[in-house]
């Protein structure tokens, strides 16, 4: 089997027909493959996110991360785009859903696509992965420590990101949730509440909470990186996608 991949920037059509920059990585082989939309975290379209995309390609998937802050201008560095988007209040939920749909459509249009689509997001992207899986027809979703899914942010947080648990009845696919026991957003009680609600609704889901890990434990370039949790988390992700994205 060939392990060669192609990776680079492509254009996709997002919400409101906006042209978005996106980072695509795919195997060079001709085996049928599922697609994964990677939703970047709040600091933006950064090298860590692109590394996630390449990791999925190295494991046989076509993966794409749309730059959710593309509307802040072409040729602007991703950190400046992130700051500009933040100053405007962040990405509206409706726009996020449209952008993920556009990225998924791009994956489905590629040669050797098997028609199955997964989403994954970290931090704010974890909440958005859940949102996308409730609003779109997705085959497998992974929420890595997304907060404000069940609970609203504290009142002093002027954010558009509010509870979306009311959308849970529309969850279109199995959900894998990976969390840190020491995280405060989401804290273990919020994770437990989401777990209970999905169980009540009969929605297939699998949650893992890692001890001695807090928020962002997958981020290798950050002090929060926890190798044991991240290693096991990646294994859980590939086992989950292996079950649901391989036709």
């Amino acid at each position: 089997m060939s392990d060669a991949i192609w990776a680079g920037t492509v254009a996709v059509t997002g919400h409101g027909d906006a042209e978005l920059e996106a980072y695509l990585a795919r195997p060079l082989g001709d085996a049928p493959r599922g697609g994964v939309v990677v939703i970047h975290h709040m600091p933006g379209y950064d090298p860590g996110t692109k590394e996630f995309v390449r990791t999925f390609a190295a494991h046989g998937y076509a993966a794409i991360a749309p730059n959710l802050y593309s509307r802040e201008g072409a040729g602007v560095s991703p950190d400046d785009q992130a700051a500009a988007a933040r100053a405007k209040g962040g990405v509206p939920d409706e726009q996020l859903v449209g952008d993920v749909a556009g990225a998924a459509a791009h994956l489905s249009s590629l040669d050797h696509a098997n028609g199955r689509i997964g989403v994954i997001g970290h931090c704010s992207g974890g909440r958005q992965a859940f949102l996308a899986a409730c609003e779109l027809d997705i085959d497998a979703a992974v929420d890595c420590y997304g907060a404000f899914v069940v609970k609203d942010p504290p009142e002093e947080y002027p954010t558009m990101a509010g509870s979306i648990v009311a959308k849970a009845p529309n969850l279109s696919c199995p959900l894998l949730g990976l969390f840190g026991e020491e995280d405060r957003f989401p804290a273990p009680d919020e994770v437990a509440e989401l777990d209970a609600e999905l169980t009540r609704l009969g929605k297939e889901h699998e949650f893992h909470t890692y001890p001695e890990a807090g928020h962002a434990f997958f981020a290798v370039e950050r002090p929060a990186f926890r190798p044991a949790a991240a290693k096991d988390g990646w294994e859980k992700i590939f086992a989950f996608y292996g079950r649901h994205l391989n036709a």
Binding site: M42, D80, Q81, A83, A84, H215, P223
Partner: protein, 96 residues
């Protein structure tokens, strides 16, 4: 955690960014993940001019201790100067 919290402020002054000096109109302060600093969370300060585009930005990521020390240093510097010396409306009436 992502706090999502952003405190915005209007600013009058100038800053030097990647493309040279520009006129400041806005600022934003938020405690959240840094982009570059090697800490899990920092106090992030953006000095910007949205009218000149997102690249008109000077970004600073500070620890909580550093940010508070900076606030105190600004207060000390202002207290040591004649009142109104750096005011946008010029020196206070009666000042030499």
């Amino acid at each position: 955690m992502c706090t999502y919290q952003t405190v915005k402020v209007e600013l009058d002054g100038a800053a030097k960014g990647a493309n040279g000096w520009f006129t400041l109109t806005d600022g934003a302060v938020y405690v959240d993940h840094p982009y570059h600093a090697c800490h899990e969370h920092t106090v992030n300060i953006d000095f910007t001019n949205p009218g000149d585009g997102p690249s008109a930005r000077v970004a600073v990521e500070l620890t909580e201790e550093s940010a508070l020390a900076l606030v105190e240093a600004i207060r000390q510097a202002l207290a040591a100067a004649p009142p109104g010396l750096a005011s946008a409306s010029g020196r206070r009436a009666g000042a030499a």
